[in-house]
């Protein structure tokens, strides 16, 4: 029964992936991709990666989907030009051939993966106590491989700087995105008043349980960012001008706090990003707490995009 369900899931996913590639309309392709992202969440559940499932639903499906839908709507007028450039059948066959070759090689690799599978799970289990958190993923992300998590926050910031650097010169320092109309009696304004309190509670809850159970700062921050975006879309609040010092300070607060905690470790525990015994959990929570607003702002601002107007509201 479960096998049949899994095979059905795989078939659906492959079908949607093909749809996202071959659909004629970009908009339809993106809609297919969002459905695909939601189904992937089920795959992660089947693979026992609840934390990954949450991330996939929040970021892979949700935010990426929203980003692409926005772009597809905006770029409606460019489709004809692209269609004219479609490569001929010979190129398409060749492309299909090399893609199939890669798939076959990968499939062969999957089938010859060693048994028993190499794993670090016992190692993680053996050292988890030292990190004082109950969720193994959190102890990997914020203790064993804390450097990756620090770098991940920096990656997001780099991408945001990249997005901002595309601002037309006359709008530098201004507000990102387009001004949204405000309709006090509209349904969107209604939702934007009703939902955020619930969303903020849910986001903070997911962040808070992350130390011991599936969840964490990224998943929580995505929900908070979504609430912020909803409020902006409804016209209840405007995006802040990017020259504001408070905004920039919040953007770097997370990584800087992370680095500061790391340096404390270098002095007190003998290595950068090490935690003194007994202080691991409070320090990990402190890092996550500092990263939350930073991640929320970055994720939200990335969706709003490049500044397109001055800083007058």
């Amino acid at each position: 029964m479960i096998v049949a369900l899994n095979v059905g899931l795989v078939a659906l996913i492959l079908g949607l992936a093909v749809w996202a590639i071959v659909a004629r309309e970009p908009f339809a392709a993106v809609v297919g991709f969002i459905a695909y992202g939601l189904l992937l969440t089920l795959v992660w559940v089947q693979l026992h990666g609840i934390d990954v499932a949450l991330t996939e639903a929040a970021i892979g499906g949700g935010l990426t989907g929203a980003l692409l839908i926005g772009a597809a709507t905006r770029l409606r007028g460019t489709e004809a030009e692209a269609r004219a450039e479609r490569p001929g059948p010979a190129t398409r066959w060749l492309a299909a051939a090399v893609s199939v070759a890669v798939t076959l090689a990968l499939a062969a690799c999957v089938l010859v993966l060693p048994v028993p599978a190499p794993t670090l799970a016992p190692e993680v289990a053996a050292h988890m106590a030292a990190t004082e958190v109950g969720n193994p993923i959190t102890s990997v992300l914020l203790a064993f491989r804390a450097m990756d998590t620090l770098l991940e926050a920096i990656v997001l910031l780099f991408a945001l700087i990249g997005v901002w650097s595309l601002t037309p010169d006359r709008f530098w320092g201004g507000r990102p995105g387009l001004r949204q109309g405000y309709d006090a009696n509209g349904i969107l304004a209604y939702a934007a008043r009703l939902l955020p309190p619930i969303g903020i509670v849910a986001g903070i809850y997911i962040f808070w349980v992350g130390a011991d159970r599936p969840g964490g700062k990224f998943q929580g921050a995505t929900i908070l960012a979504a609430m912020w975006l909803l409020v902006m879309m409804a016209g209840l609040a405007d995006a802040p001008p990017i020259r504001r010092t408070w905004l920039r300070a919040l953007l770097v607060a997370g990584p800087l706090a992370f680095i500061a905690v790391g340096l404390v470790g270098a002095v007190r525990a003998g290595a950068f990003l090490a935690y003194p015994p007994g202080l691991a959990k409070p320090l990990i929570l402190a890092i996550e707490f500092a990263l939350m607003p930073t991640l929320t702002l970055i994720l939200g601002l990335m969706l709003v995009g490049t500044p397109q107007r001055g800083d007058t509201p």
Binding site: C109, V112, L113, A143, M147, I154, W172, T245
Partner: protein
């Protein structure tokens, strides 16, 4: 004390990043002053790492968080890393000095976009490169590669023109395809061996399907980011369209990041997995890059595009060392050849940065960079032209340059292992380089028909920065003579050596005459060859051809490793 010195590895990565984070808050003029302040700090850190390494003679290792691999992440610096850290620090500092004139927010003026972004991105590129050089974990390296890409792409389109935005998007998309292939390989390695740590993997990896697939995918993914022919789809418009200081960063430094990772993979992760035939193919692509890049460079009308195509040729050079570095037992080994390759990378980094800076100054002063209209520039801006000429000489491998020593080492290895065809490529490559250097020099030295109109006075400091880097590259042989076995260079001023140099010049002049766009001699056949190369290049730089080539190369590499494996 030891932990202190090894902590330098962390600082090398953190210093630029912290500079960037704080600079973002400070904004405008204060950000650029902070960036300028970070430059010498980073240089001192890099020098400190190099000095520690020379003193102790063993690889520096820093366990982040105190967790040892496979659970934790280790930072490591061996000789390779130290040399690259130092070279990058020197070039970044020179670029910083150079860029002061172009990207400067006046104090008190409102924050301007391009200068602000440039200084932040410069620090971003630097920190990411340092991370590439010291990281010992394949996944951290993936993140480092993405950091590098995300900081390099916006540099391409700082001026915001449609043409450069298009170049940046092409660059980003192709580089992303490359990183996915790299990540795919890393995932396979984890599935096969249960670790991503470089030195643990080196002990566990065996020549078998998973390792071959991973090696092939990761190699081509990185080649796409390095823009090795025929995967150079994104390079010419991106490097030629960017502002000069940004071009110098991109051309001299950014492509070295992914190149360095190829070296790491082949020499340190899987020396027993890669095979001689696959190394021959890698170097074969390099040879093709030299020929195509140089010939198409000769056909360019604009100076910056010429320099961009010369980068494609020079990237080819960096891959010639792979088949020469195999020992008698058929394994890749660290040795003189790797030192030579490293020397080549460093001399290219310095010379190419100098060359792009000089080209940028010419563009700024004249308001254009049409090669045919450069007459009289040598008289109007002698220092700039001198910087260009010296960079060119250094790239050609004239006597005291690093490229000269590198060429010597490789020629020695080629004759030692009986691979005569690489002798031909090494000698011929210098002729090609001479070709485009001579072409430019002839044009700038010509007597102008009227007085040269300069639209802008260029900064003397910028000229000196370019000249300094060029001289660095030209005198690199002295710096490098220490670790290189002395017998390679007997007497650099012997008649034979000077004769070779002369021949190189002569050959270059002939090439320039035959293939250049405005070939006055009009040698029909040679002209036809040039046009054919240009068309082939245009075909290969179409998206479908380049991406199909990417996957085909992956398949070829995999097959060559599989077929060449000891049964």
């Amino acid at each position: 004390m030891r932990a202190m010195t090894e902590g330098l590895l962390v600082l090398a990565v953190l210093a630029p990043f912290v500079g960037l984070l704080v600079g973002l808050v400070l904004g405008g003029g204060r950000a650029q002053r902070l960036a300028l302040l970070t430059l010498p700090v980073g240089l001192v850190i890099a020098a400190g790492i190099a000095a520690t390494l020379v003193r102790s003679g063993e690889t520096l290792v820093y366990l982040l968080g105190g967790w040892a691999p496979p659970l934790g992440i280790a930072l490591r610096a061996d000789g390779l890393s130290a040399v690259m850290l130092l070279a990058v620090a020197v070039v970044i500092c020179a670029i910083g000095v150079y860029a002061r004139a172009d990207f400067w927010n006046e104090a008190g003026a409102p924050e301007a976009r391009a200068p602000f972004a440039f200084w932040l991105l410069l620090l971003a590129v630097w920190g990411s490169l340092n991370l590439v050089f010291v990281s010992g974990d394949l996944f951290t390296l993936y993140v480092a590669l993405e950091l590098l890409t995300f900081s390099a792409v916006p540099l391409v389109c700082l001026d915001g023109r449609g043409e450069t935005l298009r170049a940046a998007l092409r660059y980003l998309l192709f580089a992303l395809a490359g990183s996915l292939l790299y990540l795919l390989g890393a995932v396979l390695l984890y599935g096969g061996y249960g670790t991503l740590d470089i030195s643990l993997l080196a002990g566990r990896i065996r020549p078998e399907p998973i390792a071959w697939a991973a090696a092939a995918l990761m190699t081509v993914g990185l080649l796409a980011k390095t823009a090795l022919f025929p995967l150079h789809i994104w390079l010419p418009p991106a490097h030629a369209g960017a502002p000069a200081a940004a071009s110098a960063v991109l051309s001299a430094l950014v492509v070295k990041g992914s190149w360095f990772l190829v070296v790491r993979l082949w020499f340190d992760v899987m020396p027993g997995v890669v095979t001689m035939p696959s190394a021959q193919m890698l170097a074969g692509l390099g040879a093709a890059a030299i020929v195509v890049g140089s010939v198409v460079a000769l056909r360019q009308e604009r100076l910056k595009l010429l320099v961009a195509y010369s980068t494609i040729a020079q990237i080819g050079y960096l891959f010639l060392m792979f088949p020469l570095a195999f020992d008698a037992a058929g394994r890749l080994v660290h040795g003189a050849v790797l030192t030579g390759g490293l020397l080549q990378a460093v001399s290219h980094a310095t010379a190419k940065a100098g060359m792009f800076m000089a080209a940028g100054l010419v563009y700024a002063a004249l308001g254009h960079d049409r090669i045919a209209d450069l007459a009289g520039v040598a008289r109007a801006m002698p220092v700039t032209v001198l910087a260009f000429a010296i960079s060119g000489l250094a790239l050609m491998g004239v006597v005291p340059s690093g490229a000269y020593l590198a060429k010597k080492i490789m020629l020695d290895a080629a004759s030692g292992t009986g691979q005569w065809w690489w002798t031909m490529v090494l000698q011929g490559g210098a002729v090609f380089t001479a070709g485009y250097v001579v072409l430019v020099l002839v044009n700038v030295l010509r007597r102008p028909s009227g007085p040269v109109q300069l639209v802008k006075r260029v900064s003397r400091l910028s000229e000196l920065a370019a000249l300094g880097l060029a001289l660095c590259s030209l005198s690199l042989a002295f710096a490098a003579l220490g670790p290189v076995p002395g017998k390679v260079v007997s007497d650099p001023l012997a008649p034979g050596e000077l004769g070779t140099t002369l021949l190189v010049f002569l050959g270059g002049a002939l090439l320039a005459l035959g293939l250049a766009r405005r070939a006055t001699a009009g040698i029909g056949a040679a002209f036809g060859v040039g046009v054919a190369f240009e068309q082939a290049d245009a075909f290969l730089r179409r998206w479908p051809s380049a991406s199909i080539a990417l996957l085909t190369l992956a398949a070829l590499f995999g097959w060559l490793m599989l077929a060449g494996a000891p049964a």
